[in-house]
């Protein structure tokens, strides 16, 4: 589990995370109740799209920042591996 340099993929993932965190605080239409498609209040429609963006971020994280080292670490034999039931 070395962390000598911070890979580009991880950086992108973190940047996207903070962008999404900012977008979540959508103060710009706090008082708006316009209906999108005639039934969905804009504040709810935006956050539904936000949920889809979170799924995309998950995909980015898996694609570019997957912790391969952890998989390897878990599969390696360890001398104290049987210390717990």
């Amino acid at each position: 589990m070395k962390n000598s340099s911070y890979p580009f993929g991880k950086r992108i993932t973190w940047v996207l995370f903070f962008v999404l965190f900012f977008l979540h605080q959508d103060f710009w239409w706090w008082d708006e109740s316009t209906l999108v498609l005639g039934f969905l209040p804009i504040g709810l429609a935006f956050h539904a799209l936000f949920s889809i963006a979170c799924a995309f971020l998950g995909w980015v994280a898996i694609k570019f920042a997957w912790p391969h080292h952890l998989e390897q670490f878990a599969e390696e034999n360890f001398s104290e591996g049987s210390e717990k039931r």
Binding site: W30, C54, A55, L57, G58, P67, E75, F78
Partner: protein, 564 residues
């Protein structure tokens, strides 16, 4: 009566699934507790999602949206999509790796090993139990509140003391709670964590499908999507909150109120022009005065409710979903994963699943403000809407089974994890190797589960009128205050056992302090509108960092086990 038969049929189906999963049970304690690390991506997604979505998601979100409007979604659902997925990725996979490598079954085993401290386990165990119990309570309370309205009229001569006059003859909370507890207990008893994973998967599919079906029927009942958008309560030119429509049950359709029916009066708001605004469709805070009639005495009382959500409160809700990082039942689900790759589907699909469940619930809650009386208990809003708008008893039964599915898919994991922790962290921890056989270990876990179910049931009957959403927020607040501990354990080599103990104690004391101030489970904010979870989290973080830096760093040998 037909509705009840459908619900009973569903519960029997679940018991059948319990028998099925018990046939694939391998008889070992490892299989009982973590399904021998054999759960693949789909079952993991369904069990993790089913576990995190409880009465809170269906019953609580609809009720909260009825009270505060569509801001409920951003408050809990969309931020959870971001934070939960992040935690599965950053915390879940790492804990799975350590669990698989070092053979941990419970969170406490990990913390004991990471910080070289037995005492830490004895400190953490009662705190985790204390925080899981409110989570269990909301399940039992939510189930009771759901069944009574939809079975109203079924047993008018037996159940003569309903919680509201219109629900006369409905199955009372005490009976629903008892049946739900026994069903969950039975299939957890038989199949352990594998049984819970199968049952969770089945129930998660049921509640997602039924939720969507309910949504479609409610939309039809309200006269279509566009019409539904016009239904929520509106503020008129005189500053009164009015309902423009009512649902005529005989005709089975929405009727216009002429003149609109006043249900409340605006007392205060941050914006001046509220004329024709539907406060449930935006997040502007508006204080409204309502009146409600006591169903038993007929006495009229006045109560105030703030619609909308203050911005600072909304931002500080970020701290609530951090709680999943410390849920002991989720830790156990993570450990059932066959490989790290099994997490991939969960990381991507979890926010989407949240959206599929929460968007309809939040919309139904906002629409309900236009057709239900404002004094109705928030946890009963969803079932009252089903009863009012769906009509067909078979369908109502199926939809109610969906709500029960969401509730039970969380209860099972929580019961199981408490049994697992008690057995492994308390009973077996000090026992000599091979003192107990696998059969005895499973029996100890099962006995503790029975005790916890009994305790939960008694407490749920005592707190049967608690607000499901608010009680859940208190439970999550406690777990989120413990989040710095798990994050530091995984990512900060300099964290010490003294720092962790200080953090846990500070988290507990600050949480108890605010919980007491809230009147044991009420809605509460601090200062300009910050939720207590944010304050507890900060206090716990400062204690962790401060005390860790002042005490001796952990040994190289310990660090090697986790950071080599």
């Amino acid at each position: 009566m037909t509705t009840l038969i459908v619900i009973i049929f569903y519960l029997c189906l679940l018991l059948g699934l319990g028998f099925f999963s018990s046939r694939s049970f391998r008889g070992t304690s490892k299989d009982y507790f973590v399904a021998s690390h054999s759960i693949g991506p789909f079952l993991l997604l369904m069990s993790v999602f089913g576990t995190t979505m409880t009465a809170f998601a269906l019953v609580g979100s609809t009720g909260k949206s009825f009270e505060r409007g569509i801001g409920t979604y951003g408050l809990m659902a969309s931020i959870s999509g971001l934070v939960h997925a992040g935690i599965f990725f950053l915390v879940g996979i790492r804990l799975w790796a350590f669990g698989k490598k070092h053979g941990y079954i419970t969170q406490i085993q990990f913390f004991r090993s990471r910080f070289d401290s037995d005492g830490l386990g004895y400190l953490l165990f009662p705190i985790l139990v204390l925080l899981v119990v409110p989570y269990l309570l909301i399940g039992i309370i939510g189930a009771g509140k759901t069944i009574e309205p939809v079975t109203a009229g079924a047993f008018t001569e037996i159940f003569t003391n309903p919680s509201a006059p219109q629900w006369l003859g409905g199955i009372p909370s005490w009976l629903t709670g008892l049946v739900v507890s026994l069903v969950v207990l039975t299939y957890v008893f038989m199949g352990g964590s594998r049984g819970a994973a199968y049952a969770n998967t089945f129930q998660t599919i049921v509640f997602m499908v039924m939720g969507l079906v309910a949504f479609v029927y409610i939309i039809n009942g309200l006269g279509g999507l566009e019409q539904a958008g016009k239904v929520p309560a509106r503020i008129n030119d005189n500053g009164m909150l009015v309902q423009d429509y009512n649902f005529d049950m005989k005709l089975g359709e929405l009727q216009k109120n002429d003149p609109p029916k006043p249900i409340g009066k605006v007392l205060n708001s941050t914006i001046s022009d509220l004329s024709n605004k539907q406060p449930h469709l935006s997040r502007t805070p508006v204080l409204i005065e309502f009146k409600k009639k006591n169903p038993k005495t007929g006495e009229i009382s006045v109560f105030e409710r703030e619609l909308g959500i203050p911005f600072i409160t909304f931002v500080s809700y970020f701290f609530i979903p951090l709680s999943v990082g410390m849920f002991p039942h989720l830790f156990q689900h993570w450990l059932t994963a066959k490989s790290a790759k099994a997490f991939r589907l969960t990381v991507i699909a979890h926010p989407l699943c949240i959206m599929v469940v929460w968007v309809p619930c939040v919309l139904v809650g906002a629409w309900a403000s236009g057709v239900l009386p404002p004094g109705i208990p928030p946890p009963a809003v969803l079932s009252a809407m089903l009863k009012l708008l769906v009509g067909d008893p078979v369908l109502t039964g199926l939809l109610t089974a969906g709500v029960l599915a969401a509730i039970m898919s969380s209860l099972d994991s929580q019961f199981l994890c408490l049994g697992t922790m008690f057995t492994n962290d308390i009973v077996l921890h000090r026992a000599k190797t091979r003192k107990y056989s696998d059969k005895q270990i499973i029996m100890i876990a099962r006995t503790f589960i029975v005790l916890i179910v009994t305790l939960t049931y008694v407490l749920a009957m005592w707190a049967k009128d608690a607000n499901v959403f608010d009680l859940a927020i208190w439970c999550f607040s406690g777990f989120s205050a413990l989040f710095p501990v798990v994050f530091a354990a995984l990512y900060w080599k300099r964290a010490t056992k003294q720092g962790v103990v200080a953090s846990i104690v500070s988290a507990l004391l600050s949480w108890l302090y605010f919980f007491h101030l809230s009147g044991y489970g009420g809605e509460m904010v601090v200062g300009p509108g910050i939720i207590p979870a944010a304050v507890c989290f900060m206090v716990a973080t400062i204690a962790l960092i401060g005390v860790s830096l002042l005490t001796k760093p952990p040994s190289e040998e310990t660090l090697k086990k986790f950071f080599s």
